[in-house]
């Protein structure tokens, strides 16, 4: 088990990202392992979100981003011109900071991705819906009203729906961009519980502004500052015994 845990699923090599000449990420190299929850912490403008959006090439959609370096997903460079970005985004499923249910029913939100992936079988879709909602700890709350408009759910439920919606894609990596920033503590706890259960099946990359959340809900932590990776290691070690002074300063609240 230990050996498998350390198998990298994503390897980032010398990743540099600029946005209109401004350096956002500066020569990052790190890897994400299978079956781990990696938290990325750091003050605002340290490039956390840009980093996540590189993993599924969502930055491609915005103007002005230039990327050098490599991101290997299962050994394959995702920046290779032949990469199918739709396929990539199914493998690297993303949850955004603000829940955005599409203006349809709960059920339609969940089957949208799988249908795009070509799954047509009704039983298979129903099964995916149920499993994903269960994994996101939402099934019990919505099982009797799957055809209700998703926007009528509460904020916390909407975010769990967004997690479930991504899980229905059966991704290899789950990336979450401050998924709890708009949520109450109980909803946050539910999401964190879900992440704990999910790490057996998916690698998880969690960007968070909440250092306590990183301490609670991750196995390893990476500290970003001004686009650089300052320190990375086991979460327990980072929080109790950081090597770099800047990490320590951030964690005790000296800045950021």
């Amino acid at each position: 088990m230990a050996a498998e845990e350390n198998t990298p699923i994503i390897e980032i090599q010398n990743l540099t990202v600029t946005h209109f000449e401004k350096v956002i990420l500066d020569n990052l190299s790190l890897s994400v392992h299978k079956n781990e929850r990696l938290a990325i912490i750091g003050p605002a403008n340290s490039g956390k979100t840009t980093f996540l959006r590189c993993l599924n090439r969502l930055n491609d959609l915005s103007q002005g981003f230039k990327v050098t370096g490599k991101i290997l997903l299962n050994g394959r460079n995702i920046f290779h011109p032949a990469t199918d970005t739709a396929q990539l985004r199914r493998k690297v499923g993303m949850v955004y900071a603000v829940p955005v249910p599409l203006p349809w029913s709960i059920y339609e939100n969940l089957v949208y991705g799988p249908k795009l992936a070509g799954i047509k079988n009704k039983n298979r879709l129903d099964e995916l819906v149920e499993n994903s909602l269960k994994a996101a700890f939402l099934w019990d709350e919505v099982k009797d009203r799957l055809h209700m408009a998703a926007r009528n759910l509460s904020g916390g439920q909407q975010q769990r729906l967004c997690v479930a919606r991504v899980l229905a894609l059966e991704p290899e990596v789950l990336v979450l961009d401050e998924p709890c920033s708009a949520l109450d503590p109980i909803s946050t706890a539910k999401i964190e519980d879900a992440l704990f259960e999910l790490k057996s099946r998916h690698a998880i990359v969690l960007v968070t502004n909440n250092t306590k959340q990183a301490a609670r809900a991750s196995d390893r932590t990476a500290f970003f500052l001004m686009g650089q990776l300052i320190e990375m290691g086991d979460t327990g070690r980072i929080f109790t015994n950081p090597v770099d002074k800047r990490t320590n300063d951030y964690l005790i609240g000296a800045f950021g």
Partner: protein, 279 residues
């Protein structure tokens, strides 16, 4: 100088705004009611279903109704797909730059050109140069050019109003751009796009100058797209200008107004159906 109390300025503002709104409403109602009072008595089943006699002094307007729908309908059928496709391309498939600026600026300029200029162009280009003559198809193509900018701009606004977050959500779930456009953006933009199309249909139906020069003013029933025809608006213009029959002119105008009214009501109904289904 003594300061006027805010409560008083508030009262004055409300009164003024209310009064001007009333003026707008009054003008609108006056025109419609005046024409309907003059025209409604002339409308009968025979008027709607029979051909005109003696240059329109007697008889009905059936060929004009058919001609109007042929010209305006065909114009929308031609312009809507082109306009909506252009709007999708401009909003979803290209980044803001010189090219989008030129297309948009061009569309805005085209929208401001007087319709008689379109008529002249249609006459010279479609009717003469392409040899289509004064016909339904010449008129429809000319109107299509005329309404194209409106369709592009309204469709663009409607598409742009779809929140960017929906697009990202769709991409994040593994959609291609085209899947995102067809499954997420267009259904949400549909009410707005439909409004633009219906407004354009209304404008096509009520257009006079452009069709006079391109579709002609034949009184007989158009049997094919290459026949000349006379639209309702043009019929009204000829009846009143040549002093053929003011009664028939008002009756024709009433039919035109009721038609536009019905069209707008239909558009509202359609939009409500669509928004309710999505709600």
């Amino acid at each position: 100088m003594k300061r006027i109390p805010p409560a008083v300025t508030q009262a004055i503002a409300v009164t003024c705004l209310w009064a001007f709104t009333l003026v707008t409403l009054a003008i609108l109602l006056f025109i419609i009611v005046y024409i309907l009072i003059q025209g409604l008595p002339g409308i009968s089943w025979e008027f709607l279903t029979q051909a005109p006699e003696s240059m329109g002094r007697r008889g009905g307007i059936f060929p004009m109704i058919v001609g109007t729908f042929m010209v305006a309908g065909l114009a929308v059928l031609i312009a809507a797909p082109i306009g909506i496709a252009t709007a999708i391309y401009l909003t979803e498939y290209t980044r803001e730059g010189k090219f989008t600026f030129i297309v948009r600026f061009g569309a805005d300029c085209l929208a401001g050109i007087p319709s008689i200029i379109y008529g002249l162009f249609g006459f010279v280009f479609f009717a003469i140069a392409l040899g289509m003559g004064l016909s339904v198809v010449s008129g429809a193509l000319t109107l299509a050019l005329m309404i194209l900018p409106t369709i592009v701009r309204t469709a663009e606004e409607a598409i742009r109003a779809v929140p960017a977050a929906y697009r990202e959500a769709s991409y994040g779930l593994g959609s291609t751009r085209w899947q995102m456009v067809t499954r997420v953006v267009l259904p949400l933009a549909l009410p707005g796009i439909c409004t633009g199309v219906v407004l354009s249909l209304g404008r096509s139906i009520s257009e006079t100058a452009a069709v006079m020069l391109t579709a002609g003013s034949a009184l007989r029933m158009p049997h094919s797209l290459s026949d000349s025809t006379r639209t309702l608006a043009l019929h009204f213009y000829i009846l009143s200008r040549e002093g053929l029959s003011m009664d028939k002119a008002y009756a024709t105008a009433s039919v035109l107004i009721l038609l536009i009214l019905a069209l707008n009501l239909f558009a509202y109904w359609l939009m409500r159906q669509v928004t309710r289904r999505m709600g």
